[in-house]
């Protein structure tokens, strides 16, 4: 599946995304911010509407038919998502609000419970704030030593440095599978193997990988993996924590209340089985069902084809952007190790001015630090511009971006 061929039938896919068929500032919308949040296809919207219209009642409660219907679909969604990431059983899938909440769940219910003062926790320089701040808070609160795997000049993780950073005190390693800024795809297996050799557990932040490429938790042998539904055609408000079952069972609950107990009397509660132990209160089950529909949609396209399409888009964007005088690409320039995220700067133009000028041309990109301020400090940059791709983007979108860049340069006399 190498090469730069465009594998997907984009015209057919775009027909499922009516939102893309609109004008912005009198220009056709060119949406290049899917790394922040993706658009949603009709089958996802329809799946959720159908529940609300015909099959809605609270799950795990009623003995009546409507509640059973909703519960069945919720369980089916969990099973679909388990299959999608190669999890051994649906019970390994905990629904959360998003990847951020999943990481916080792990910080509270795993790390605060199993890590002791002086233990070491390893993250990387390129993490999103979601995989940064919870550990900084934990480190401060519990005297845990937080260390950072550095990036090389090319923007990939330094595995040599990893060797020096791993010690017998390392209890937890958490890293992004794909960087939301540099686009760097990190091969998780070697890091996970080395971490396991020193007895550390490993969390993979798959927010930018599960939506875009085949991911198999059994093959990579991670202990935990997190991602958000809204970045992969699903609705907002639903995310996933995958965990090895024995670990999930050993962990105390995160939030407490209804649905997460098996029994409560005046002496106290008994916890429900996993994964419900971690799903206190009425869950976002309609959103979970929507995410299940998103997984169906992606599976029908085939994740290898999705990845190949994005790799081709990335290669094309890297090539076209490098033609523009003053553009500097941030991160790897080899599309084989770069997800569909192309971050860049334009000489003497602040990314916010650039994003405003591109918006005037209908081109939606992200500008700022993309919730990765430590990485920007490391890169010595205040802010960057980012174009990111998904299944509904086509080479013409990159052409529109480049054309708008030239217009922006002209407007700003750069």
């Amino acid at each position: 599946m190498m090469g730069n061929e465009f594998m997907l039938d984009i015209a057919r896919i775009r027909a499922d995304f009516p939102i893309l068929n609109q004008s912005v500032n009198g220009k056709p919308l060119v949406f290049l911010d899917s790394a922040a949040s993706s658009q949603k296809p009709l089958p996802v919207l329809q799946a959720m509407e159908e529940v609300y219209r015909y099959a809605y009642a609270n799950v795990h409660r009623g003995v009546y038919r409507l509640s059973e219907l909703a519960t069945e679909r919720y369980d089916q969604a969990r099973a679909k998502i388990a299959r999608f990431i190669g999890a051994p059983e649906p019970e390994c899938i905990v629904f959360t609000r998003n990847a951020t909440e999943a990481l916080n769940l792990l910080a509270y219910a795993y790390a605060r419970h199993f890590l002791k003062p002086g233990d070491e926790l390893l993250i990387t320089e390129l993490e999103h704030h979601a995989n940064f701040v919870p550990w900084q808070v934990l480190a401060r609160e519990r005297d845990i030593v937080l260390k950072f795997i550095p990036i090389t000049a090319e923007g990939v993780l330094s595995l040599d440095a990893l060797e020096a950073l791993l010690t017998e005190r390392t209890r937890l390693v958490s890293f992004a599978h794909v960087s939301n800024v540099l686009g760097t795809i990190t091969d998780p297996a070697p890091i996970i193997q080395r971490a396991h050799q020193v007895g550390a557990r490993v969390i993979v932040d798959a927010s930018q990988s599960v939506p875009h490429m085949p991911v198999n938790v059994m093959e990579m042998d991670c202990d935990f993996l997190v991602f958000s539904g809204h970045k992969m055609l699903g609705p907002t408000g639903i995310g996933v924590l995958y965990g090895k079952r024995d670990l999930l069972e050993a962990m105390p609950p995160f939030l407490t209340g209804g649905d997460m107990i098996s029994m409560v009397d005046f002496d106290g509660p008994q916890w429900n089985d996993v994964p419900l132990k971690f799903e206190a209160g009425t869950p976002a089950f309609v959103e979970a069902i929507g995410l299940g529909a998103a997984v169906d949609y992606l599976s029908a396209l085939g994740m290898p084809a999705v990845r190949q399409h994005e790799q081709a888009m990335t290669a094309y964007a890297l090539e076209r952007l490098s033609e523009v005088n003053g553009v500097r690409i941030i991160g790897p320039t080899d599309s084989r190790i770069r997800g569909g995220v192309v971050t860049f700067t334009l000489d003497r133009v602040h990314p916010h001015d650039l994003a405003t000028l591109l918006d005037a041309e209908g081109v939606a990109i992200r500008a700022g630090h993309h919730c990765a301020q430590p990485l920007h400090i490391r890169l010595g940059l205040n802010a960057t511009a980012r174009a990111s791709f998904y299944i509904y983007n086509e080479p013409a979108d990159v052409d529109a971006l480049v054309e708008a860049l030239y217009k922006a340069k002209l407007a700003l006399r750069r």
Binding site: N25, H350, P351, D353, L357, A360, A367, H376, N382, K407
Partner: protein
């Protein structure tokens, strides 16, 4: 699309007025916009005129987008020689009027960073005198 980046705004960006630092300012304040990393520092020198504290001179340095830097340049041009009490009451809309271009909500924050720095600086200076 040139609307937002009209000649006078680009001019203030490229040739900012009151740019730099002051040797002995009465107060200095600096803030940044955490979302976009825009940063502005303003030095202010005061004098006494007709029994009021008046901004005798001001200077700013910073980095950030055209809107944040141009708006600060226009603001300082506007406030020098004005009484501190009056400047402290500046309506944010006044800065937007100085820019004279329509701004989206996200960009209003850029335009008002300089005013925020100046107002906070004045507040702190007043507190320090009490």
């Amino acid at each position: 699309m040139q609307d937002l980046y009209r000649e006078h705004i680009l001019d203030h960006y490229e040739n900012p007025r009151y740019h730099g630092t002051l040797a002995q300012p009465d107060f200095t304040h600096e803030e940044s916009n955490p979302l976009c990393g825009d940063r502005i520092r303003i030095d202010v020198k005061l004098c006494h005129k007709d029994g009021r504290d008046v901004i005798a001179n001001a200077a700013f340095t910073g980095e950030g987008c055209i809107i944040s830097q141009a708006a600060t340049s226009m603001l300082l041009e506007d406030v020098v020689n004005k009484p501190v009490d009056e400047v402290e009451q500046t309506d944010p809309q006044h800065v937007l009027d100085l820019l004279g271009v329509p701004l989206s909500a996200a960009r209003v924050k850029c335009a008002l960073l300089g005013l925020k720095v100046l107002k906070t600086g004045i507040k702190r200076w007043k507190l320090s005198r009490q």
